[in-house]
Amino acid sequence: MIPAATAYARATDLDHALELLAEPDAKAIAGGQSLIPVMKLRIARPSLVVDISRLGLRGVAERDGELHIGPLTTWSDLIDAEPLGRPALAAIAECARGIGDVQVRNLGTVGGSVAHADPASDMPAVLLALGARLELRSPAGAREAALADVLLGPFTTALGLQELVTDIVIPLPETGSGSAYASVEHPASGFALAGAAALSTPAGETVALTGVGSTPFVLPEGDLREAIAAAEIFGDRFASDVYRRELAAVVAERALATARERAKEDA
């Protein structure tokens, strides 16, 4: 439970961070809630740990009809963030409240969770349902990408080795919208056996699942049960694919029902 020897450097600004990440096998660390445990198990053994926790990029703000979440925003920040009080955005704080424990929530960051791409992590499902896109920076410059296009598979993203998330952007749902997150957790890890985020707007409904596939994903429009029946859903020794598929349907229905209720209160 002692990590292999590694170097450490604290980045002073974004460009410095990107420069440090040029080192082969360097890893960025923000809250460390995913990286440190795997380093202690020596599953990850980076040559250099680049501390990006002092780069700012933290906080939640509304600008020009969009919601901006800094990637270094912690789960605790999200729970308390004022712009997230709307029923339309209720899924974010609801989801954050269920992550880890207080200590994890005080350190773990939303950007770290997205970049880590754990197939059972909760928040990416919420961000997917809300249609989030990511602002990215690398030495080659800035670009943006839909979250759905960044999550490629288990612990695998479209981010380059020297690329960092600089902003998470969500289009503000129109008035009369509601969102919700529901999950059934593994009793030990707390990770979702099946989790569902739902957004209900006057224009339509979106449901995203997590914990059931290689990455969180948005269900195609149409009948929920049919979409889930057609989805690729895996089984493991705790929850079979049959059981997990049923759980996915249950949590999707529950999240959607709550989202619809909340939409009625979104003025």
């Binding site: 439970m1 002692i2 292999a4 020897a5 198990l41 020596r42 059934v184 593994h186 009793p187 030990a188 890890s189 056996l193 020794r237 705790f238 929850a239 079979s240 059981y243 049923e246 759980l247 249950v250």
Partner: protein, 757 residues
């Protein structure tokens, strides 16, 4: 003569302030000059022969001082138990078995070295399925014979039950079956045939981890004189000393074992890591500390065995129990020394009268971790089977489950299936308490998906002679000295026993846990016997000290000792309290050059022969989510016969803790191996325990049926509260779901599957 007003008052634990403020020094905390750190290398195969070990890379790792294999430890014993073979010699018998110790100047160096060690295994067939392992001709889980066949002192310290009758010679079983227990009386077949209702089932329970907060840890060093000093997290200092003497063939006086404050043990801390740390210290002549990581602790220690129980019971129409027939298979894993088949086959009959019984227990070796004790070993799993079937029996006969149990519950003088008569036992009293509870009445008017269940569980307790010393100092305070490891708050109990017996405020009493070099004898803290037996010795030691203080006061006050009393540290004339002298003054007169009185000090011993079983009845209220299979615990009530609650706060803590661990058995806990015998649940990310958000309000009902031979009527209470909890929850789930589960834990996928079968 004693001040019984002090008994039965809720008080904080004496060790609480230090533990809460972080002042307690645990076995991993003490500073030792020149300390080396050990890291074990654990076997990656469940069954294998070690072809060779390449030490070079590990030895070349900076900071690594030594790479120790079995042959490098000065082990004198040829046995194959964990004491005699702390590192695998030639045959690995479970994945996680330590095969080498890497000793480094720092923890990090030792870990780097452990990573670099190369062990060459020749895999052998892993025996993982306990039932298949019993078949004649099955592959053997261990091919090297145990030369000693001696489990040391570890076998008999847990519970006061015998070892059954002669084995049935007709049964043909494989060499993996290390022990057979037969308990037979009367004609069970006829009894069941003549019953108005018969129910049966096969019940399965998994390997369960003790999940103590503090992992296994030990520090060992040699004094310049050559004495081996072992500072460790253990339940028994004398047991550990005996085990180390056996392992290294050292005289007892050359070993000093210090039982440091325990960070939880629950039956799992008996000389498991001490032979490793001590062996390394003896080999290297430097102090060595071994602290298992959590994942090593999961893999390399000694959890509770899995069990398979086939049980069949019958009753007449009026609810009178007729016959009980059971076959209990205990997966001992790689523990060749002992198993719980003796205990579980005795307890499966419950605290009930049976006209006839035929119970067989089998202890079977497999290539899993060596089984160890866990709070009431063998009992929760026995009660799960019996109490589940009792509910089915009551349902079949149209009887109230509590009334039916009351009709058959034992009282003093009834014979247990071991043939021994029950001493005082509160089975009827605790059943009556939960029958009166409003939650029981509420079971008929519940919302859909909710259910209420009840069950009874008991633990026989144990006996072991013990001694204690009480010493009064010149400041009027008392020091109680015992060698019992302070587990489950026993020291706080000793303080109030000594205070009440002597006549002193409990806050003037300090309790010290002595080491084996100077402490009075006490057995291991286990078997629910410490308060009962060591507490009795403390009582007598305090009474003896009281005699000394009365004699001194008698001379000072010129009043006969019989006319004096000791109240709150003051010796005074009965009926004339103004004629008095303080204990402090008397101690000052005694403890000085030229003093006139014997030191106010007493020694006391105990050797009870009468047992003091404790019984607990549980009520569980659950909600089953029919869509997901999740079980939510809504409320839990436990009524336990504790003899006499010396300190109700501690007693309730034990009741809550036991019930909570029972919730773990019921819903969450399961150590799983793959088909090759490798552990799949080696961390708290995989292994679920009952966390605060899942544990409901637990209501505690203290029932007091005094134990005739216990201190102030107290009995051992630590184990009974876990026993019936899983069964009560299983009965509640059956009521809520309309279908019964025969396997623990009742996880969401299992409940969901049962709802659809």
């Amino acid at each position: 003569m004693t001040d019984t007003t002090l008994i039965g008052v809720a008080r904080p634990r004496v060790d609480a302030p230090d533990k809460v403020t972080g002042a307690t020094r645990f076995a991993a905390d003490g500073y030792v000059h020149g300390l080396l750190h050990a890291r074990p290398v654990l076997a990656t195969e469940a069954h294998a022969r070690i072809r060779g070990v390449d030490k070079d890379a590990a030895l070349a790792t900076p900071g690594v001082v030594a790479v120790l294999l079995a042959a490098d430890l000065p082990i004198a014993s040829t046995g194959t138990d964990r004491t005699a073979e702390p590192l695998a010699r030639e045959e690995v018998v479970f994945a996680g078995q330590p095969v080498a110790l890497i000793v480094g100047e720092t923890e990090a160096a030792a870990e780097d070295g452990a990573e670099a060690l190369v062990v060459d295994y020749e895999p052998l067939e892993a025996v993982v399925d306990v039932e298949a392992a019993m078949e004649p001709g099955a592959a053997l889980a261990r091919t090297v014979e145990d030369a000693e066949e001696d489990g040391g002192d570890l076998e008999s310290i847990h519970a006061g039950v015998d070892h059954g009758q002669e084995d049935d010679p007709r049964e043909e079983l494989s060499g993996n079956v290390l022990d057979r227990i037969t308990r037979e009386n009367g004609d069970v077949t006829a009894a069941l045939a003549g019953s108005d209702a018969v129910v049966e089932g096969t019940f399965r329970t998994p390997w369960v981890y003790q999940a103590y907060l503090e992992p296994q840890v030990c520090t060992a060093w040699l004094e310049p004189s050559g004495t081996l000093v072992v500072s460790t997290s253990t339940q028994g200092s004398f047991v550990t000393r005996g085990e180390l003497a056996r392992a290294f063939d050292l005289p007892l006086e050359r070993i000093r074992v210090i039982a440091e404050p325990l960070g939880g043990a629950f039956g799992g801390k008996f000389a498991l890591v001490e032979p490793l740390a001590a062996g390394a210290a003896l080999a290297l002549h430097r102090p060595v500390r071994l602290v298992l990581t959590r994942s090593e602790d999961f893999q390399a220690t000694n959890p509770a065995s899995a069990q398979v129980t086939r049980l069949k019971i019958g009753a007449r129409a009026d609810g009178t129990f007729t016959g009980i027939e059971g076959r209990m298979i205990v997966d001992r894993g790689s523990n060749a020394g002992w198993g719980v088949e003796g205990i579980t086959s005795a307890l499966v009959a419950g605290p009930y009268r049976w006209a006839a019984h035929d119970i067989r227990g089998y202890g079977v070796q497999t290539n899993r971790f060596p089984f160890g004790a866990y709070r009431a070993p063998g009992a929760p799993t026995a009660a799960f089977a019996l109490e589940s079937l009792l509910d089915e029996l009551a349902q079949k006969l149209g009887l109230d489950p509590i009334e039916m149990r009351l009709h058959n519950a034992v009282v003093e003088g009834d014979l247990a299936i071991t043939g021994s008569p029950y001493p005082t036992i509160g089975a009827i009293e605790v059943l009556e308490r939960i029958r009166e509870h409003s939650l029981w009445a509420a079971r008929e008017s519940l919302p859909d998906g909710e259910g209420i269940g009840m069950a009874l569980g008991h633990w026989p307790g144990g006996n072991e002679p013990a001694a204690a010393v009480c010493r009064v100092d010149t400041d009027g305070t008392m020091t109680v000295v015992t060698s019992a490891a302070d587990m489950s708050g026993v020291n706080t109990g000793f303080a109030v026993i000594a205070a009440a017996a002597f006549g002193l405020s409990p806050d003037k009493v300090r309790v010290v846990t002595a080491d084996t070099s100077s402490g009075p004898y006490a057995g291991a803290s286990g078997g629910s016997k410490v308060t009962y037996t060591v507490g009795k010795a403390v009582l007598r030691a305090a009474e003896s000290a009281r005699e000394k203080v009365l004699n001194a006061a008698s001379q000072e006050l010129e009043i006969a000792p019989d006319d004096l009393e000791v109240v709150d540290g003051v010796v005074r004339a009965v009926g004339a309290p103004d004629r008095s002298i303080t204990v402090e003054e008397l101690a000052k007169k005694a403890l000085r050059f030229g003093g006139r009185y014997e030191p106010i000090e007493g020694h006391g011993g105990s050797a009870q022969t009468m047992g003091a079983p404790s019984v607990a009845a549980h009520l569980s209220h659950v909600r089953v989510d029919r869509e997901t299979g999740e079980v939510r615990l809504l409320r839990h009530v436990i009524a336990q016969d504790v003899g006499r609650a010396l300190n109700p706060a501690l007693v309730e803590g034990q009741m809550r803790g036991g019930a909570t661990q029972g919730m773990g058995w019921a819903l969450f806990e399961q150590l799983d191996h793959d088909e090759d015998g490798r552990l799949l649940t080696g961390s708290f990310l995989d292994y679920a325990i009952p966390t605060a958000e899942r544990v409901p309000e637990i209501e505690t009902l203290i029932v007091e049926v005094p134990a005739p031979d216990g201190p102030f009527g107290a009995k051992g209470i630590g184990e009974a509260p876990v026993v019936g909890a899983p069964a009560a929850i299983a009965n509640a789930v059956a009521a809520a779901a309309g279908t019964r589960l025969y396997e623990l834990p009742m996880t969401a996928p299992r409940v969901w599957a049962a709802l659809r079968s």
